[in-house]
Subunit: 341 residues, 2 copies
């Protein structure tokens, strides 16, 4: 197998670091690794697997000789440099929202729509974290029973908002008694005009609001799910909520499948052994997924599988995954692995 | 107005204390107040509003001369003493699940079904906390537009599991770095065979499991909602999740109303000014309900009102209330106030 010259743009961020770690851990056939970030981080050293890497500033020439560039430095950086990297010969796997809904750019979760990679023209988009874990878990059900409708409520971790949000949660968590007066300057999002404490709270806003009253995070789940499944007739609606959890997104997912007469046990059987999925679903042993125990794990965990007593095709699932791994870094590397196969 | 001799059973618990506080705060016409609890708490002194109350052990004779007895000491205590209290002349307002689904016992949220009080035979049941805030918020919509279906995912506070659960969250919150190894001995429920940390986690189990795979908390929401609305044809399904929040339950509620052509603005207008409801719903000012700011408040807060883009009668609401107040103590006192009117 030919080895690849790899660049990671946004290498100092939470996801960028996980991409580097996972590349080494999964023995990706790397010839060289170039860590790129803003001029502010240039010169910084990152030690992974006993090796020291020095961060360089991202400039157009950074991509000369690069085969594969992972972008995870925000949508603006992707818009500025992704096409440049492609022009200089790289394939770009972009973890931002910059190109996800662009018609000719594949939006890929390998367990679901690996085939979409065939028509790529240089840029491949990695979906939003909360979308990835949901479609991974629903794909086996969609294949076997059909899928008509999805209504999801999320329980999302602060690490999705970056290292500063984690620090803010940690600091606020010490202020139990005067929790309502905790200082807040990051969440719900760094650019927002108002900030609220996340410790001992639940904030029903992730990203900014659209004129429809939905947040961009909710619209990502709605639109990306339809694109990945290639099904514009699928009904999807979403409510996205940030929680005082460090890492690990949870989702209460309600589905209406395309068949009646299916039992919760049928759903469970369709999920057991499916790629990337671990079923944790045994009430008798209080076995169900929880974000605290999904942190650091590659899999998507599914439990609380139940039939809606009042609807012949309705089911509940509780889906949990590490938002920095399957929700971001791992999925990006799985895309790269699919490409070189 | 004639004054009443009042007893509070479970007076040393979180809800019992709130009942006492609210009775005084709302100038309920009290002739005397008797605080009752287990023999373990007898002799304990409770100071509220400058007055000192001494806790007595609950025995059958405790209810002699009592007009109104609030029960909030667990279902077993209610089963042991509620009928005894009625026999001795008291009206019982029971905050446990002991009698909620008993056919001839009214299950009452005054804003919704005050009329059900007319046929009481001594015991009146106060619904489950998560049910109360949901039906309060949905009642004006049900009246105006009809209600066909409810799918709810909850985000529930630890104070619903008592003072020990609050202490456990506080203690675990200091263990940020080794959070997955936090000691846990209370949640998901004191009687469970396994316990999980709640700090930096989300536990998709409240109360124990039924053979259907639903938890008792979920079944309470499903069955109580149908009973309070008096509508067996209403479709209700629920997923209940415990969060690292001290007080304040949040709910992501999806509804299908009985009319099409209704807008989110119509829903908002139907809720503004409705009894017990405060609408906090302005994306332009990041105004939406959050549990951290609902703590200590009497009202049910509603926001994030949106139309499902893919369903002509589907809407989302985000409903937050103090689970110890409107979810328990306040609603019990509102029932008492309805009775004496």
């Amino acid at each position: 197998m030919t080895t690849k010259s790899v660049a990671i743009v946004g290498a100092t961020g939470a996801v960028g670091k996980k991409i580097l770690e996972k590349l080494l851990e999964r023995n990706f056939p790397v010839q060289s690794i170039k860590l790129l970030a803003s001029s502010r981080s240039a010169g910084k050293e990152i030690i992974v697997g006993g090796n020291t890497y020095t961060v360089e500033e991202t400039v157009p020439e950074s991509f000369d000789g690069v085969d594969l560039a992972f972008f995870s430095a925000g949508g603006n950086i992707s818009k500025m440099f992704a096409q440049e990297a492609v022009t200089r010969g790289a394939v770009v796997i972009d973890n931002t929202s910059a190109f996800r809904m662009t018609e000719h750019i594949p939006l890929v979760v390998p367990e679901v729509n690996e085939h979409a990679l065939q028509n790529h023209t240089g840029i491949i988009a990695n979906p939003n974290c909360s979308t990835i874990q949901m479609v991974t878990a629903l794909q086996p059900l969609r294949e076997k029973f059909g899928m008509k409708r999805i209504i999801v409520s999320t329980y999302q971790a602060v690490s999705g908002a970056g290292a500063e949000a984690i620090a803010e949660l940690q600091s606020q968590s010490g202020q139990f008694a005067d929790r309502a007066d905790s200082e807040a300057s990051i969440l719900p999002s760094a650019g927002a005009s108002k900030h609220y404490p996340i410790a001992f709270n639940a904030i029903p806003q992730i990203d900014s609001f659209d004129s429809s009253g939905y947040t961009l995070e909710e619209l990502k789940m709605i639109n990306e799910t339809k694109k990945i499944f290639g099904d514009d007739d699928l009904h999807v609606s979403a409510t996205c909520v940030r929680l005082p959890v460090v890492t690990g997104h949870s989702e209460s997912v309600y589905i209406e499948i395309g068949k009646v007469g299916i039992t919760a046990e049928d759903i469970r059987e369709a999920l057991v052994g499916a790629p990337g999925i671990v079923v944790q679903d045994d009430p008798s042993t209080q076995s169900y997924p929880m974000p605290l125990f999904a942190e650091g794990e590659d899999d998507v965990f599914v439990g609380r599988i139940r039939k809606d007593p009042d609807h012949p095709a309705g089911f509940h699932l509780w889906i949990v995954a590490d938002n920095l791994l399957k929700g971001a870094a791992l999925n990006s590397i799985q895309i790269a692995e699919s490409l070189i196969r």
